[in-house]
Symmetry: C2
Subunit: 353 residues, 2 copies
């Protein structure tokens, strides 16, 4: 059995749980070291069970380690799961309250007798996932190198007159040829005033000379994601654009400067946010400074004014200060950072800013 | 106020609900006629409220009709929602149990006093969405024309020696240039024995002469999806391949023959499944015959042996009989069908089979 599963079994023991019913796809991928889809995982001392339907049993049989048994769903899913609990005599079963719908919970609950307790057990696996193992860091670094190549490619490709959507088309093609995975999320290409929408949907607008083009993209490599943003200027950057760009650069540098094991995430956020506010643009930066990245594009830790978590070595997250000026333009720079023993490493540092 | 919202308000009255809290993105897109993301919708006689955060308020302001008021989240989301219920004196509020996590439900519940009831009200909007309006059918037909062009393009492109992933790269690029939207889901390109995995993840495998290549793809046009599958044979189709292919063709024809308003979905499924079983391959067709398609790739009605729904004019769904022979190959043909006044129209009929 792999060490991740062993660790979770120990945690279950500590929480006096007989089992954990895992319904988050990213958590299942993490624990099985495969790219899981449309499946559930039941972890218990009586066995590790991978629950899926006929569409996936053949590939699961080839991909899963031997200690994980495949259970092919037949009939009603909630009843099938409830019967697994009963068959193996599991009494106290943890579930993932953020990854199970109200309806899913109620349907399983209905199939169980009163002796079986479903207990909310959030974050057990997510907490482990925050600290990346050496093997994971290696994959993420490779994914960032491919993303960097994609930025270099698009920097050479981009010309006035092209549509936003064409940039996305070329980037997706480039990523596929270089990574075998898809983009990690819908790529954003936002030109001119569209860049003031933090999550603009790329469209038919043609890029004009002299305006900023914001590109926010990430790839998926073996399930691991990247998430990076750069702003390109076609021709010369305006004085106003330059001013805002420099504020963002300095805000990011101030946040970076605070990152080391033991530092608090809200203080990292504050370092960037306070500087932006001092410069008079606090009202134009509405979102968090950053978020963890791994098997999900957004995962723990959040780098936010609202949450305070202590950083640990091995965490990987984004830093993405931004200023959005409605009707004018927006600037966001997003890098990915690894917390090291004494400070941090900007994993995406090789991409021009 | 648009007619979809009006219809839902009438249904709420019939169910004695003061309001409906909508958390399904597709349902929100349907009711607001915009492409909604990271938002919630509260429908009540006291007003229609679109709840989102600072990343989306600017674009929502431009996109939404005037009868829908934007509420910008500040602070805790569950508290913000609970306060909306309180401020407008809403007492019986329906929610979507499949689209709200157990955790989301519990957090909102905790913020409410006992006089306010949260009532599960599933399917109200999904039921409306099953019957496509003329305007929706027009968009879906256009989306299918673009998907057909993509199949034609890839049929001309495909050669032995190419990797599965390269087909996906070229298709994604083609779709972007022709539709402004993304693919509706991760495109499947499965060559040779990989085609026996119903949902194969395309990889580095090189396509060989004489083997089948299964391509399952769909696009997103203004939020509306397509979902179609064809199998290409490079060079000559084998006698065994031909035999299986013909069984699938006939199975699909038998199902098509049953489609008209009033027909039962499980009988449509049975028409294809029984034929495949008669031919000796029943054990190699594990999934449903089809599913509705619209703002979601999979929506109501399900064409399944387990569920019986009466077809109505305006429904659009897939028919995708298949035979998967592990270690050998798989054949699936997937078309999209519109239920008409007296029978049906194969919307994807122009794509070669």
């Amino acid at each position: 059995m792999n060490s991740r599963l062993k660790k979770i079994l120990i945690k279950l023991g500590q929480q006096k749980l007989d089992a954990l019913f895992v319904s988050s796809p990213a958590n299942i991928s993490y624990l099985t070291k495969t790219q899981s889809r449309d499946s559930y995982l039941l972890i218990s001392n009586k066995g590790i069970f991978y629950i899926t339907d006929s569409r996936y049993t053949e590939e699961a049989g080839l991909a899963l380690e031997k200690s994980i048994k495949i259970k092919k769903i037949n009939g009603s899913l909630p009843r099938f799961i409830a019967e697994l609990f009963l068959d193996y005599g599991l009494k106290r079963i943890g579930f993932e309250e953020k990854h199970l719908s109200f309806s899913g919970y109620m349907k399983i609950r209905k199939e169980l007798n009163k002796k079986i307790k479903l207990v909310s057990a959030p974050g057990i696996i997510e907490d482990s996932r925050q600290i990346k193992e050496a093997q994971e860091i290696k994959i993420i670094k490779k994914a960032i190198r491919i993303t960097a190549a994609a930025f270099k490619f698009i920097e050479g490709f981009i010309r006035p007159g092209q549509k936003e959507i064409e940039l996305v088309a070329e980037l997706q093609r480039f990523i596929r040829y270089h990574a075998a995975g898809n983009s990690a999320f819908d790529i954003i290409a936002a030109s001119g005033p569209n860049s003031s929408f933090p999550h603009h949907i790329p469209g038919q607008r043609k890029i004009r000379k002299g305006e900023p083009v914001l590109v926010d993209m990430g790839i998926d490599l073996l399930g691991y994601k990247t998430d990076l943003t750069r702003v390109f200027f076609l021709d010369k950057i305006s004085a106003y654009g330059r001013k805002i760009y420099d504020i963002i650069l300095e805000a990011q540098a101030r946040a970076l400067n605070k990152i080391k094991p033991g530092a608090l995430t809200d203080e990292i956020d504050a370092a960037a946010r306070q500087y932006i506010t001092e410069k008079g643009y606090g009202g134009f930066f509405g979102h968090n400074l950053g978020h963890g990245v791994g098997l999900e594009v957004h995962e723990k830790p959040m780098i936010s004014p609202k949450k305070s978590t202590r950083l640990k070595q091995g965490m990987i997250f984004t830093l993405e200060p931004a200023i959005y000026l409605p009707g004018e333009f927006g600037i966001r720079l997003e890098d990915m950072v690894l917390v090291t023993k004494k400070g941090c490493e900007v994993l995406s540092g090789a991409i021009n800013k």
